[in-house]
Symmetry: C2
Subunit: 257 residues, 2 copies
Amino acid sequence: PTRTIAVANEKGGVGKTALVINLGAALALKEKSVLIIDMDPQFNATRGLGIDIGEGALTVYDIIMDEKTHIVDDAILKTAWKGLHLIPSHVDLVGADVELVGVEGRENRLKEALERVTIRYDFILIDTPPSLSLLTVNVLACAEEILIPCQTHPYSFDALDELFDTIEGIKAEINPGLSITGIVPTFFDKRTKVSHQVMEKLRKNDRYQNLLLDTTIRINTTIAESTAAGKPVIYYRSACHGSSDFVELAEEMINPG
Amino acid sequence: PTRTIAVANEKGGVGKTALVINLGAALALKEKSVLIIDMDPQFNATRGLGIDIGEGALTVYDIIMDEKTHIVDDAILKTAWKGLHLIPSHVDLVGADVELVGVEGRENRLKEALERVTIRYDFILIDTPPSLSLLTVNVLACAEEILIPCQTHPYSFDALDELFDTIEGIKAEINPGLSITGIVPTFFDKRTKVSHQVMEKLRKNDRYQNLLLDTTIRINTTIAESTAAGKPVIYYRSACHGSSDFVELAEEMINPG
Ligand SMILES: Nc1ncnc2c1ncn2[C@@H]1O[C@H](COP(=O)(O)OP(=O)(O)OP(=O)(O)O)[C@@H](O)[C@H]1O
Ligand SMILES: Nc1ncnc2c1ncn2[C@@H]1O[C@H](COP(=O)(O)OP(=O)(O)OP(=O)(O)O)[C@@H](O)[C@H]1O
Ligand SMILES: [Mg+2]
Ligand SMILES: [Mg+2]
């Protein structure tokens, strides 16, 4: 069965988009078929995959706002890498929250759209914006799993409680099938005190300790460089920390310990 | 006259909160009176200043949502450092966008509240969430200046165009007095190609090149460590890159080159 995974943390800049692009590419490298859905109005996942959507191309905005007309498969783009597809985002998505206020079932728009996808994927990874607004709720309403990148900095750790509360609310009211697959520490720098402090806090916390994945994504400037090249890091420079960490994460996702 | 300065960039994690807290503290060190306003529902500026608001304390949510009753001065807290005051944020602020939909003049709620502040400040610095939603529009509607932290990473540079377009829209329709004081490069790491690439792009771009401030905030893990201690970095460790960069920025703000 397809694994639909939301990647979310309302704290900004913790590595959500990096995780979606690079885990997606690493899974495709292992012969999995992967669909990335970019639900961030800043369309960083679309940009980071080197995709420049022309005028008139279908985006995730169209499939959420306009239920009946669009054939969702038409919005799916092939990336430059085998097995890695994308439904791109668009800046117009920023208006969806307000445009859908008061609309019945607005939290299930993405879920209904994805039910119309006819292509079968092994993994669907969904990037979210840095907030717990309607766009993120739409993603949590349709995903079965959620992967939480946690930058090893204090503010990112502090954001987890609110995120966990929101997930419990979604489970209770909208999507009982949603479960947390794990917390992935990101930007880990073994030279800094703050990284070790936050890892320690994650390991000691009753709510989070059993959800910590084995894989940690280390700080690695090659990951940032690869976004300028519009490539996943494994195709930008395969021999770097970033590439090996995301390949390890893909293995852990396929064969949980 | 008081300088009211918005610190904004819709890209997440670029150093907005770090700028507000640490520039604010450095200005107070130079005998300026400073009010920080935390307009992020994740209340990182409140946390980073070591403030734990008790139940029932007035926050920026109260002064925006409930115009008539609250005396805004009552929401102002003193921090541990002379000359540095704060109007704290609260998680309830996340609902303001939707709660104010359709309300006449909702974009000017913060502006009207600030007009009722009786204490005179030299600087008012306002932290914003990573989006261009109603909360950020409220801040841009009342500020005269905007300071834009730009992480020296590609996505942060890419976010500038949309931000500049939004600012032009606000100037045309809501706040003709708003002007961009400058772009502050952040997380600059002289060892990495990506930092130099982005600096080069900023210097070559017609729209941004004349707005680049002289001061660059270098990457410095002590800044992240100081947030765990709930202190501005100049009071956490005065002899580090972070402290000297923010002191330099304060000097540049007081005496523009
Ligand atoms: N492990 C890492 N090491 C170094 N740089 C990284 C790492 N992961 C991500 N980055 C870079 O740091 C920046 C922030 O990461 P990214 O944009 O993926 O975070 P995000 O959570 O998606 O941000 P937003 O909240 O704005 O959506 C980007 O420039 C990215 O390329
Ligand atoms: N120059 C710097 N060097 C190293 N770390 C920094 C620097 N500036 C900020 N940080 C740290 O990086 C993280 C992101 O910065 P910060 O939270 O200030 O960004 P932000 O733009 O306010 O994020 P958000 O979009 O979530 O509001 C924080 O943990 C912060 O302490
Ligand atoms: Mg992102
Ligand atoms: Mg912030």
